[in-house]
């Protein structure tokens, strides 16, 4: 309804399809941004998101790193939140009846070892999440992600399999941009049973120093880089993953994430190979409204470039 009102070209179809999950537009709330409560998710739905990802949860409650945990600099954002979350059980309560939200919602879980991933997944998937995402790629939490070697092809395959074993819903593996051959990691994830790939998590890590305090600004010292600074690298990662998976005969969808803040960014990401686009840091730049804005801008672009179905543009640059 709302969607239709904004429309300039009612015939443009912005619909996306992620392993059979239908999205009315390709924007997906990225994990870790806003996704800590059902009420906040509802607000992101209202703002026009096509799908949502909750903030990653672990088996037990975590307070995360001390502040500052999130800092915006001239070219992007640095964060070292450190996976603060109330634990999978409390999260499952928070997100009970999540299916009542009008768009598909994806869970996100992390652990230190495959068993922890599986345990957290089992808890959280008691809620009717439509899919589950596993980030193997956090650059700033000891014991997790790239700091725990989760970004190797072997670990990727092993962890993916452990999660796939405990759920019948699609598993998306979220990869780090800080790897020499991201295509191989994507293949390892698919090998482990993943249905799709989310690319990418934050980059680096990076550091910022306060020259008066002579200390790093982030309490943890360094953090993942997101936003505009990440966009070109994320785009290339999605390009590489699309190519590697298609060359290997796979059709797994990619949620292209990293620095997307407007319709033009989203379209570039889709042409590189994404079926949907994750949006995180842009919430800072343009407010929660960014989801509706990106859809509107995508519609204008489709109109201008005479594109009837946005879906047809996935991977267009590989043609």
């Amino acid at each position: 309804m709302k969607e239709k009102n904004n429309t300039q070209a009612p015939e443009t179809d912005l619909g996306a399809d992620l392993c059979g999950i239908k999205l009315k537009n390709p924007t997906v709330l990225a994990s870790g941004v806003l996704g800590i409560s059902k009420d906040l998710l509802a607000r992101v739905v209202e703002a026009g998101a096509g799908a949502l990802t909750i903030k990653s949860v672990t088996t037990s409650r975590r307070e995360g790193h001390d502040n500052p945990t999130v800092i915006a600099c001239e070219a992007g954002m640095l964060n070292a939140v450190g996976y603060s979350n109330p634990g999978a059980k409390a999260a499952a309560e928070e997100f009970s009846n999540v299916e009542l939200l009008q768009v598909p919602v994806f869970a996100s879980v992390v652990g230190r070892v495959p068993e922890e991933f599986a345990a957290a997944a089992q808890h959280i998937m008691k809620c009717r999440f439509r899919a589950i995402e596993i980030p193997l790629s956090c650059p700033h939490t000891p014991g997790y992600g790239t700091l725990a070697g989760h970004g190797s092809p072997e670990a990727t395959e092993r962890i993916t399999r452990a999660v796939c074993d405990v759920t019948d819903r699609p598993v998306f593996v979220k990869l780090s941009p800080n790897v020499p051959a991201i295509g191989e990691l994507a293949l390892a994830a698919l090998e482990g049973g993943a249905s799709g790939i989310t690319a990418v998590n934050s980059m680096g890590p990076g550091m910022l120093i306060d020259i008066e305090a002579r200390r790093p600004v982030l309490s943890f010292g360094f953090g993942g880089v997101s936003g505009p600074a990440l966009r070109a690298v994320a785009l290339r990662c999605v390009y590489d993953i699309y190519k590697a998976t298609r060359d290997a005969g796979h059709e797994a969808p990619i949620i292209g994430t990293g620095g997307i803040s407007c319709g033009e960014d989203a379209m570039q990401m889709i042409m590189a190979g994404a079926s949907a686009v994750g949006v995180g840091t842009a919430v800072y730049q343009r407010g929660v409204e960014v989801f509706g804005l990106i859809s509107r801008e995508l519609r204008e672009i489709c109109l201008r470039l005479d594109i009837k179905k946005l879906k047809d543009m996935t991977g267009a640059v590989h043609g």
Binding site: V33, I36, S37, V70, S84, D210, A213, C262
Partner: protein, 285 residues
């Protein structure tokens, strides 16, 4: 009225690229310490020597907040409670480790600030000063101080357990004061001001203080046809509307608030009931 509340967060975004607004702390030297009560001290700073976009104290509107950084320790939200052409200040009540370390700072030591953030109090231009009430409880007075400074003719009401815990008693001499132990001013709680006939004629009320108190104030206002706005406190991490930590019924206290209007508060069942801790867990107030 809801529409009249300015939300600096919900930026009208032009198509295409936005500049990326940095939010890095700016270090400022402690110039003066002022004891307010036994466990509350005000820290006064000179304005930053360089103008940096990420900290502009002079742009602060009453009710907004800043993030205060002690390197190697933590960063937490505080309101600006003093402002002048030459400097600004915050008022710190010792509650735990961070506020204690902050209160123990020595003159000349540096503290990092970024902000102001969020949405402050609004709509005061629409009312005659004497139709406005500013009602604070305890440390909540800090959040109201710049508003009281701006509208000295307003009805300023403060409540505290006892006279020794009163804030800014001399700063705002026209204050109506309630102490629970009767050691100063009226005996009782500031809500009595609303319950009694004292508030006659007031049309707009701004409040900050313990949430249980604010809950009561807001419902009394609603019952008496007084419009009102309350400043909330929630656990904050980013302060810039990204992490979701400060969530309260789908609203971000750091960006949509900390000030909310009566009609918004009516849609916020958590108001006066629950908050979230550092892990994001919902707990009873």
């Amino acid at each position: 009225m809801d529409e009249s509340i300015q939300n600096p967060g919900a930026c009208a975004a032009p198509a295409g690229k936005l500049n990326f607004q940095p939010s890095l702390p700016v270090m400022v030297k402690l110039a003066e310490k002022r004891c307010e009560t036994q466990n509350t001290v005000s820290l006064l700073f000179e304005h930053p020597s360089e103008d940096k976009a990420s900290f502009r104290p002079l742009q602060n509107a009453p009710g907004q907040f800043v993030m205060v950084w002690l390197p190697e320790l933590n960063e937490k939200p505080f309101v600006i409670s003093y402002i002048s052409d030459t400097g600004f200040g915050i008022t710190v009540t010792v509650r735990g480790n961070f506020s204690r370390r902050l209160s123990e700072l020595q003159i000349g030591q540096k503290v990092g600030f970024r902000g102001p953030f969020g949405r402050g109090f609004s709509g005061m231009e629409d009312y005659a000063p004497e139709k406005i009430a500013i009602l604070g409880g305890g440390c909540g007075m800090a959040s109201l101080a710049l508003l009281a400074q701006k509208i000295p003719e307003a009805n300023i009401i403060q409540g505290a357990p006892s006279s020794s815990e009163l804030l800014y008693a001399e700063r705002f001499p026209r204050q109506i004061i309630f102490t629970e132990d009767g050691s100063f001013g009226f005996s009782g709680r500031p809500t009595q001001w609303l319950e009694g006939k004292l508030s006659g004629g007031v049309e707009m009320l701004y409040t900050c203080g313990p949430e249980i108190m604010m809950k009561k104030v807001v419902s009394l206002c609603n019952a008496n046809g007084i419009r009102c706005q309350a400043a909330l406190e929630r656990y904050m991490k980013c302060g810039i509307g990204v992490c979701g930590q400060c969530e309260c019924d789908g609203r971000l206290v750091c960006r949509d608030g900390p000030v909310f209007s009566d009609s918004e508060l009516q849609q916020m069942p958590s108001f006066g009931n629950t908050r979230r801790n550092a892990a994001g867990q919902r707990i009873k107030l």
